[in-house]
């Protein structure tokens, strides 16, 4: 009897967890669309969109892909490609800025 009750509680907990995940991802997506469609300063719109996209990607990796339950070594391994891409991006932006202002 108690094991059945435990299973029901666990199931309810999991359902709540799924609904929270769905809610967070939908809210982030709606925010992204709202930021894109509402007229505003172009530069800040782009920055806000990039921040929201990054937040959603991190949320996806940590919670839906369960990276939060993995070891620190696996988390570092997963972060590496993103950091490499960001580094390339910074180098390219710096190079473009140098060409623009020299």
């Amino acid at each position: 009897m108690s094991s059945t009750a435990d299973a029901t509680t666990r199931s309810e907990h999991r359902t709540r967890e799924y609904l929270v995940m769905l809610g967070v991802m939908v809210v982030l997506m709606v925010l992204e669309v709202a930021v894109a469609l509402v007229p505003g300063h172009v530069r800040w719109t782009v920055v806000l969109l990039l921040v929201l996209a990054l937040a959603q990607a991190v949320y996806f990796a940590f919670y839906t892909m369960h990276l939060s339950r993995e070891t620190i070594a696996l988390r570092r391994m997963a972060a590496a490609p993103g950091l490499i891409a960001a580094m390339y991006g910074l180098v390219l932006i710096a190079e473009a800025a140098w060409r623009h202002f020299r």
Binding site: A61, M65, T71, M77, A85, L92
Partner: protein, 212 residues
Amino acid sequence: MTTAHAHVHPQITASWPPDAQFGRANPAKLAMWIFLLSDFLSFGGLLLAYGILRAGSAVWRYPGEPGLNIPFTSLLTLVLIGSSISVIVAHDAALQENRRRAVIWLGITALGGVLFLTGQYAEWIGILHPGLIKEGLVFGRSAYASTFYVITGFHGLHVTAGVIYLLAVLARSARGVGRAAEVELVALFWHFVDLVWNLVFVLVYLIPSGVP
């Protein structure tokens, strides 16, 4: 007996001993992570190239080229987000050895993928209305058109592969030979496809609407 077991991968079926570096992640899961990370670099390269072309263009969308349908693509994004949750439910059911529930939720996830691909077909080619190609967004005519088709096409190929992979795991689960670890691997791949779509959606669909 040895030959009968030679084709089985005991490292997947057995409870993998905890490792100092990678905890309880088995080799199959680590291999999937390594594959996903290398695949992320492929997408990273495409998105960086897109950013460089976009930032360096005086004119991004030429007169006559259609804009992208944000409300429709938002719906497709919602479908993918929903399928990400359904694959988690499938994995959860597989862990509880509830085969029927796992099969149903894997099927719902695959259906989400098929819906997304149908939406992408409607966007490119057109179903009820003319698609982007007929409206004048022609591959090779501008950087805007080419990057759009290359990036969304590359992602579409991943969704197609994901649907096939989901159906293969579903078939194995339905026959009673599938394992929870297999559902976990396909779930990882499917989440990755969703994660990348979010980046594509923001960079390709949303930013052009705000930048001239």
